[in-house]
């Protein structure tokens, strides 16, 4: 069974934020919510690298472990999804998530949290595939269309990889062998408890 993963080849990322924009547009993500973001480390210094980060769809996901109402589920593709009908907006997943993936609209009492929103790996949610309800709550279901997350498909420098974990790991390995360097598969150890050894 294919295990879906994200891999950001930080040596290729030019911080163009096309992935962020593509994501926002594809799912009509509202203001203030970023399912994906690009962080630049060592900005302006030698060794500067940009990394595009979103929900990594962890193995043994921390969000799912701490959710008080157990609204998360992991599909056979190992995509971590959640039900907005069950979510109570408590923020526990945000405390536990190593990647800062869960996002909340500030709609609750006293400006606190509304229902959590996060990257769905373009795989919708617990509503029927391609239904309007699914699109309104979770966004497009590209995976069911036989496509991959738009952020990765959109990437101008082919830095962001998505798809079968084994295949994208082999692609990354090939690249590192060819060019002779690589700053590593960001977040993989934390998310998948393994990394790409080159």
């Amino acid at each position: 069974m294919a295990r879906m993963k994200f891999l950001c080849d930080a040596d290729r990322c030019i911080e163009c934020n096309a992935c962020v924009t593509a994501c926002k547009n594809e799912h009509e993500v509202p203001w203030g919510i970023n399912r994906r973001r690009v962080v630049t480390i060592n900005d302006g210094k030698p060794g500067e690298r940009s990394v595009s980060m979103a929900c990594m769809h962890c193995t043994d996901a921390p969000c799912a472990a701490v959710c008080p109402v157990s609204c998360f589920y992991t599909t056979v593709d190992k995509v971590v999804l959640h039900s907005k009908d069950l979510c109570i907006g408590c923020g526990y997943c945000f405390y536990a998530c190593p990647f800062g993936a869960p996002q909340y609209p500030k709609v609750g009492n006293f400006g606190s949290r509304g229902k959590m929103d996060k990257c769905t790996y373009c795989a919708g949610g617990p509503e029927a595939d391609f239904s309007t309800v699914e699109y309104e709550k979770y966004g497009r279901n590209r995976l069911a269309e036989g496509k991959l997350p738009l952020c990765a498909e959109m990437c101008s420098t082919k830095s962001l990889l998505a798809g079968d974990g084994d295949i994208i790991a082999s692609i990354y390995k090939e690249r590192v062998m060819k060019r002779g360097y690589g700053s590593g598969a960001w977040g993989w150890k934390t998310a998948y408890k393994e990394t790409v050894n080159v």
């Binding site: 930080a10 700053s183 977040g187």
Partner: protein, 332 residues
């Protein structure tokens, strides 16, 4: 003039071209990984007390944290340690209370009910107490549900009903926090003057409050040392709960590391608080004959008061005599 400029440009161009091979040489030798940021190095350098952070171009600057490994510690605490702490505190207290009841039984009024009562708590006192207590019960149940409901009651309710219940619980928890804080403030103002520890409390403590020996009651004023302990537990606990809860009510005021700390403090203190209040509720109702009246209708039996608060009864009676005396003077 024009020709002069042209020759200058040409000279400059020549200079650039001449220097190019050297530059190209530089690029060939340039090793982009020499100072490349490797995630592992960053994580190792962290030693668990910072985040891998950088610069971000979206408005939410908090999103500049790329990886925060502390999330895993928070998860471990929430998943493994909190159920242990909570279970030990609350179940431990329940077991201790049951044992105490079996050994000591209900603490009776030695001389029985006299039928004569004395006012122990006025309406305002009782309002402050029950405002706080009522909020506390809902806050405690909704809080415990948030931490342990998934483990204990989700299997019986089903995900939809449980989520609805928990959502209402969260709303109640958010809103009742404010009357709870008001109750705390009110109780503090009303009772702090009678809750300053003094030498009588030392004696009371030495004798174990007479809890463990029948027919023995150390003297006490309005509040005995045990009640003073409850008062200060409620005040200190309540303040820390309120402060930590305040930041959780307004989650955009604090950073994620602070919020993790506040939830941890809030949770650990909450289970201890619940355990302490179980003991308080026990001794105020089932555990002691005549005690509930104090907060029930405010009138306690004079025999109960003489046994448990001997010095307070004397003071009250002295006051009553004095006011009766002073009233009597103009009448003469």
């Amino acid at each position: 003039m024009n020709a002069w400029v042209k020759s200058l440009v040409a000279a400059a161009a020549f200079a650039v071209v001449a220097s190019m091979p050297a530059q190209a040489q530089n690029y060939n030798n340039f090793n982009p990984t020499k100072e490349s940021v490797k995630e592992e190095q960053l994580l190792n350098a962290l030693k668990g007390d910072a985040h891998v952070a950088g610069r971000i171009s979206i408005p939410d600057q908090k999103a500049a944290n790329l990886i925060q490994p502390q999330g895993q510690q928070w998860r471990a605490f929430h998943e493994q340690r909190l159920p242990l702490i909570g279970g030990a505190a609350i179940l431990g207290m329940l077991v201790a209370l049951i044992l105490f009841y079996l050994v000591r039984g209900r603490i009776r009024i030695e001389n029985g009910f006299s039928g004569i009562t004395i006012t122990r708590f006025a309406t305002l006192d009782r309002f402050a107490h029950w405002l706080t207590a009522g909020c506390f019960i809902v806050l405690a149940l909704s809080g415990l549900n948030l931490s342990f409901g998934r483990m204990l009651i989700l299997p019986y309710f089903g995900p939809e009903s449980f989520a609805t219940l928990t959502a209402w619980g969260k709303l109640a928890h958010n809103y009742l926090a404010f009357p709870f804080m008001l109750g705390l403030a009110l109780m503090f103002v009303l009772w702090v003057k009678d809750n300053i520890p003094n030498h009588i409390d030392l004696e009371w403590m030495k004798q174990g409050g007479g809890l463990f020996s029948k027919g023995h009651h150390p003297p006490a004023k309005r509040f005995n040392a045990g009640q003073k302990v409850v008062f200060w537990i409620v005040m200190c606990g309540g303040i820390v709960m309120s402060l930590s809860g305040w930041f959780l009510l307004f989650p955009y005021l604090a950073g994620i590391a602070d919020l993790q700390l506040y939830t941890t403090i809030h949770a650990v203190l909450a289970v201890a608080f619940v355990a302490a209040m179980l003991a308080h509720a026990y001794i105020g109702s089932v555990g002691m004959e005549g005690a509930f009246d104090a907060m029930g209708n405010g009138e306690v039996d004079i025999n109960w008061a003489r046994e448990h608060h001997s010095l307070w009864v004397e003071e009250e009676q002295a006051k009553a005599r004095a006011s009766a005396g002073s009233k009597a003077v103009p009448a003469e």
